[in-house]
Subunit: 136 residues, 2 copies
Amino acid sequence: MIEWIVGFNMKDNILSYKAINFEEKLSLFSEQWSPKVIAEMNDYQIKVAKIEGEFEWHAHQDTDETFIVLDGRLKIEFRDGHVDLQSGEMYVVRQGVEHKPVADGEVKILLIEPRGVINTGDNATDARTAENDVWI
Amino acid sequence: MIEWIVGFNMKDNILSYKAINFEEKLSLFSEQWSPKVIAEMNDYQIKVAKIEGEFEWHAHQDTDETFIVLDGRLKIEFRDGHVDLQSGEMYVVRQGVEHKPVADGEVKILLIEPRGVINTGDNATDARTAENDVWI
């Protein structure tokens, strides 16, 4: 529950005012396809994740989803095309749009989406479904 | 209205799937303290801004505000302390918390906040109030 306590304290500024450093957060875990929450803004969460290989097709019926690439190259496939993202680039996948993230090498990303969004979207929970609301 | 049209098209994916590149967007303007919208996610906007010098004390009573530093160094002063941010770092200023951004040199930042948030917060509109919802 350490993550939760730290998150709670940051949220209420009980701790000293401390920057959230993306590299530092990313150095704390190695699992891929397992987003970790690093901050909350209102009812939205900002997460870091490491991804590599192909994810599964999915959509989020209730929300847009923002991808920001910190390091590496990410392709997001759509049924009728794709977008290529590298460090310093972002894309917002619209609500309801089927997409599949694909990365040839490991990519480090920021995800921004409402609290409670599941990584596999509207698919039934499956092997690729990550635990939600895990702080780091 | 070019900005609006491009924003609209990106939102509805009428244009081809194109990454949003922070450096490219930042190269399109030089005004400081004048955030430009580069993307929308649900009812939130992601903005780029160039800032230098001292802003004014203000607070946003209705929302948190996320600062991500892309380049340079940013200090956010609070009434009882401050946080120092550099490239690759972020901070979420909580709803209602008085703050004053300060930058010795020019800093390039991302701002994430709900559509409609005014840069000078709850202060009466003043000389520092930037035009809102300006796309680039």
